[in-house]
């Protein structure tokens, strides 16, 4: 009986401490797994910044999907990371956000890994593609998305 108890305690501690490994997040030159759609830019809504951001983010090998939209002042990007990397999700988020802030000093950056945001930004991308957004609508949408990503409860 004592042995069983001891064993369970040991097993518990091992499992609790085992998930503490930390592998660094580094950009690579090649990444074939990323889903990425570049938006053709039209006159009304300039999406150059988003496209650049997407290219920048897609170099990380942990990332499997990138979406982004931008207005004149704000840029919202969403990424989906490989599931094994999700344990370090908050660090990855911080790192990527810093990277974006450094590279796009003119924009207010918002980076999210949330599934909901991924879906919404993807939808917004599609609508830009179909030219069904005026720049005013887009601004409103991006504002909504930023609010959504900040919600805590």
């Amino acid at each position: 009986m004592k042995k069983v108890k001891l064993l369970t305690i040991v097993l518990l501690t091992i499992t609790l401490f085992a998930c503490n490994s930390n592998n660094a997040l580094e950009p690579t030159n090649k990444n074939n797994h990323v889903e990425l759609t570049k938006i053709s830019t039209n006159q009304a809504i300039d999406q150059h910044a988003s496209n650049e951001a997407k290219e920048l983010l897609s170099k990380y090998k942990e990332i499997i999907k990138v979406n982004a939209v931008n207005t004149e002042k704000e840029l919202i990007a969403t990424v989906e990371v490989r599931h094994q990397a999700r344990l370090q999700l908050s660090e990855i988020r911080k790192k990527l956000k810093n990277k974006l802030v450094k590279n796009f000093p003119d924009y207010k950056i918002e980076l999210s890994t949330d599934k909901k945001l991924v879906l919404e930004v993807e939808k917004a991308e599609k609508q830009i593609e179909e030219n069904s957004y005026t720049s005013k609508e887009l601004k409103k949408k991006v504002k909504e998305l930023i609010e959504l990503s900040r919600e805590q409860t």
Binding site: M1, T8, L12, R86, L87, Q88, L89, S90, T113, Q152
Partner: protein
């Protein structure tokens, strides 16, 4: 993928509970209390959030998440209001479980009779 890990991690937490039941011969009340305290401590070390990112409902559905979100609410409020926030912010995040249980408890008592 997240479904798989939700299943595995959620199941694993239940196995810990079962071991507390059968090996340590605790009753359900004691077991759940220990798990809640465990959740609070894990969040104290900051290890619970990564688990939520990794396993989703696998760690938010077991009762351990109750301790985690209590600490979370307290910490969020403490950042704003200092030490007093620790007391006042407790139920900020986690009200859903308790309020749902109480509301559906009363509704259940109105609709149902115990079967015996």
């Amino acid at each position: 993928m997240i479904f798989f890990w939700a299943f595995v991690i959620g199941g694993f937490i239940c196995v810990i509970g079962q071991i507390l039941f059968d090996v340590f011969k605790l009753n359900p009340g004691q077991t759940l209390t220990i798990l809640v305290i465990l959740g609070a401590i894990l969040d104290g070390f900051g290890w619970y959030e990564p688990l939520i990112d990794f396993a989703g409902a696998g760690v938010t559905v077991p009762i351990t998440s109750f301790g985690n979100s209590l600490v979370h609410g307290a910490m969020a409020e403490a950042e704003k209001h200092g030490l007093i926030g620790v007391v006042t912010g407790m139920f900020e995040v986690t009200s859903a479980g308790i309020s749902a249980a109480i509301i559906f408890g009363v509704i259940g008592a109105i609709i149902f009779k115990p079967k015996g």
